[in-house]
């Protein structure tokens, strides 16, 4: 799947985690979203891991800087 295909699921998970709608764009970072702290970051990661039955490696998590990185990582891990 291409990375754009993951935006609907990401939108759904962000809505469940933050309890509000967040307009996800590739360049969006944690700094842009009030409440997106390291705790919420882990919630998003673990929710995605459970959803897709995948496990992010430590290096992959360290390299995530914005929503686009997350979508790209998902695309790679789910096709690999």
């Amino acid at each position: 799947m291409s990375e754009t295909a993951f935006y609907p699921v990401l939108t759904e998970i962000f809505r469940d985690v933050f309890m509000r709608d967040i307009d996800l764009k590739p360049e969006l970072t944690a700094h842009d979203v009030p409440g997106w702290d390291s705790f919420k970051q882990i919630e998003i990661i673990v929710a995605l891991e459970e959803r897709y039955g995948i496990k992010f490696r430590t290096r992959e998590l360290d390299a995530l800087n914005n929503v686009g990185d997350l979508a790209r990582a998902l695309a790679q891990k789910t096709t690999a």
């Binding site: 705790f39 882990i42 673990v46 490696r57």
Partner: protein, 629 residues
């Protein structure tokens, strides 16, 4: 698997949560309903935020259970554990407010009486010391005796925390055993390397288990969960390195549920009875159609053996105090036949305290079972292979626990165990005797049916009431009754073990436990009475509660005789009796009037106060022989 798989999958979760958030009036009951769905950690966190924004940190007005202030103390990250614990409390209709120590500062906060922990003043403390913290400083290079000393030091340090907590707060203490997160160095015979951290953590865990028994500390046995679910379900080494979360986020709803089970059990609010469907739940096939010979049960097929294993688990539960009942759509004669005639049945008719088989709907029948057993609907667990019946009972009787099970009986014992419905902290003699008590109760009813005149029936029961002041031996049962009795309960005041101990120490108060025996057996402790002097002349009956199993047996006037005697000994000339109305105790609204008390006062909420002059009090003459003992 470390999820809440026995709870039903939420339908329309997002809109239901949004509905809860948007509704004008705070509705605790709808929050409880949402908490009783299969929530993962994201949904748990969302429900927790929604509930907190509606109710704040305080319990809602009129909550019938005792609110809990829980302090989470530990060495690693604890912040992700709060929501799961609070929502699991909500699942049991218990309000839990939580606190955690500043990162790593648990010992300092216990010791410092000016700390935020002391200001919080917990009623329950959960001490969660992670495995890395416990094994700090231990290495494979250490000699055996140094490791032994280190282990003893750790155990003493932990016990020191328990002592400090108990001295400061007199609170309920739960200790979380460590997760086995250290990989072995030797392999399968790790115990031969004393300085192995894996061996050290296992050793400290075993010593803490023994010590907790001696000190009355309850264990949160994560080691047992890891044996059941696997370490990967509970721990993610990457998240430990990243955020010092020893318990992984995905396991937090179950972690919270394990904590809330202990709290509920301490309040005497665990479930009491297991209601069993018959066809395709206790045996394979439909007895009415397939006949006794056609049932799949017993040796010869995997399915038949699975049904036997489930029956065996149910019987073992009953032997430790869980009451068994049957609720089946069948002709009664057909339903009973396997219990009496099938050679492979493990459960026999005598194991079932209430047996209802007819063609009415199951919700109505479960109500009848609760009535027959004289316990609340919220003490019943109903297991049925049929999704339609489960949904019907959940809709009609939301307070009844209905585990979500498949049509394969192989999984039933594990599902009941994983759900923790019957979590118990101790086994009292009453628990062991309970099943036979219910059996004896039906024999009494049968005798009543054949005896038309009540006095001769009561006389024939040969009743003996043995009363005793509150004591350590009866403490657990006393607390259980105080927190669980809803119907025959004049004031519904909920007390902890420490509250009861305080009553025992108070020279101007008394607490009595009443046991009733008769020709059919021992009914166990059936009533609790607490009185305290209000002033020099008036004794307030603070608590008067009774098990409904002994209604109509003259226990009430006999209890009043006891109260009057105790009150006179304290110098009282008047008894004051309060009735505090709740949703469930209408049956005792006129209790004091029936006993000859005069009305004194009433408020708009149905609470009334009545008075009895002791100077001309004549003890009632009953068929009960009374003794102290």
């Amino acid at each position: 698997m470390a999820g809440l798989y026995w709870l039903p999958e939420p339908q329309e979760w997002r809109s239901r949560l949004a509905g809860f958030v948007a509704a004008g009036e705070p509705a605790w009951d709808s929050a409880v309903a949402l908490a009783n769905l299969r929530l993962d950690f994201v949904r748990t966190n969302a429900l927790d935020s929604a509930v907190r924004s509606r109710f704040g940190a305080s319990p809602p007005a009129g909550l019938t259970t005792k609110p809990v202030r829980l302090a989470l103390l530990g060495s690693g990250t604890l912040a992700h554990l709060h929501a799961g614990i609070r929502v699991a409390g909500l699942r049991r209709n218990i309000h839990i407010e939580t606190y955690e120590n500043d990162y790593g500062q648990y010992w300092q906060e216990i010791a410092d009486t000016g700390s935020a922990l002391h200001e919080f003043n917990p009623t329950t403390v959960l001490l969660a010391l992670d495995a890395h913290h416990l094994a700090a400083g231990v290495t494979a290079a250490m000699a055996g005796e140094d490791v032994a000393r280190a282990a003893a030091e750790v155990v003493e340090r932990v016990a020191g925390c328990w002592h400090g907590l108990r001295a400061a707060f007199g609170c309920h203490i739960v200790h979380q055993l460590p997760l086995p997160v250290h990989p072995p160095l030797l392999g399968q015979n790790e115990q031969r390397l004393p300085g192995s951290r894996a061996a050290f953590v296992a050793r400290v865990g075993a010593e803490l288990r023994a010590r907790a028994e001696a000190e009355g500390v309850d264990l949160l046995a994560l080691d047992q969960r890891v044996a059941l679910d696997g370490l990967d379900a509970w721990h993610d080494a990457g998240m430990w390195h990243r955020a010092k979360q020893e318990v992984s986020l995905a396991a937090t709803p179950l972690y919270g549920d394990l904590v809330a089970r202990l709290i509920a059990a301490r309040q005497g609010r665990s479930f009491k009875a297991l209601v069993l469907d018959l066809d395709n739940t206790l045996w394979g096939g439909v007895v009415g159609d397939d006949g006794l010979e056609g049932l799949v049960l017993g040796q010869g097929s995997a399915l038949g053996e699975a049904f036997v294993a489930f029956q065996d688990y149910a019987r073992e539960l009953s032997r430790r105090g869980v009451i068994l009942a049957v609720c089946s759509k069948n002709d009664e004669a057909n339903a009973v036949e396997p219990f009496e005639k099938h050679p492979d049945m493990v459960l026999r008719r005598g194991d079932i305290a209430s047996f209802v088989a007819n063609w009415s709907d199951k919700a109505a029948n479960i109500r009848a079972i609760a009535q027959d057993l004289n316990i609340g609907l919220d003490a019943l667990v109903f297991i049925d292979d049929n999704p339609f019946e489960r949904a019907l009972v959940r809709r009609e009787l939301p307070m009844v626990a209905v585990p979500e099970v498949s049509d394969d009986p192989t999984g039933y014992p594990r599902a009941l165990a994983d759900a923790g419905y019957f979590e118990a902290l101790a086994i009292t003699e009453d628990d062991r005797a309970r099943s036979s008590q219910y059996q004896a109760n039906r024999e009494r009813e049968a005798l009543r049916a054949t005896t038309t005149d009540l006095p001769s029936y009561l006389r024939s029961l040969d009743m003996r009431l043995i009363w005793r002041r509150f004591d350590q031996i009866g403490l657990q049962r006393t607390v259980q009754l105080i927190n669980k009795t809803n119907q025959f309960n004049l004031t519904t005041r909920r007390y902890t073990e420490d509250d009861v101990l305080a009553i025992m120490r108070d020279p101007r108060a008394f607490g009595l436990q009443l046991r009733l025996l008769d020709r059919f057996g021992d009914n166990g402790i059936i009533a609790i009475l607490i009185g305290r002097m209000l002033n020099d002349t008036d004794l307030l009956i603070d608590t008067w509660l009774m098990s409904c199993r002994v209604l109509g047996r003259q226990v009430e006037p006999t209890s009043l005789n006891l109260i009057a005697a105790q009150a006179k000994a304290l110098g009282a000339t008047r008894l004051i009796g309060d009735y505090v109305a709740t949703k469930k105790n209408a049956m005792v609204r006129d209790h004091y009037a029936k006993l000859g008390f005069a009305p004194l006062d009433a408020d708009a909420f149905g609470t009334t106060r009545a008075v009895l002059d002791l100077t001309d009090f004549v003890p009632a003459d009953t068929f009960i022989d009374v003794k102290e003992g």
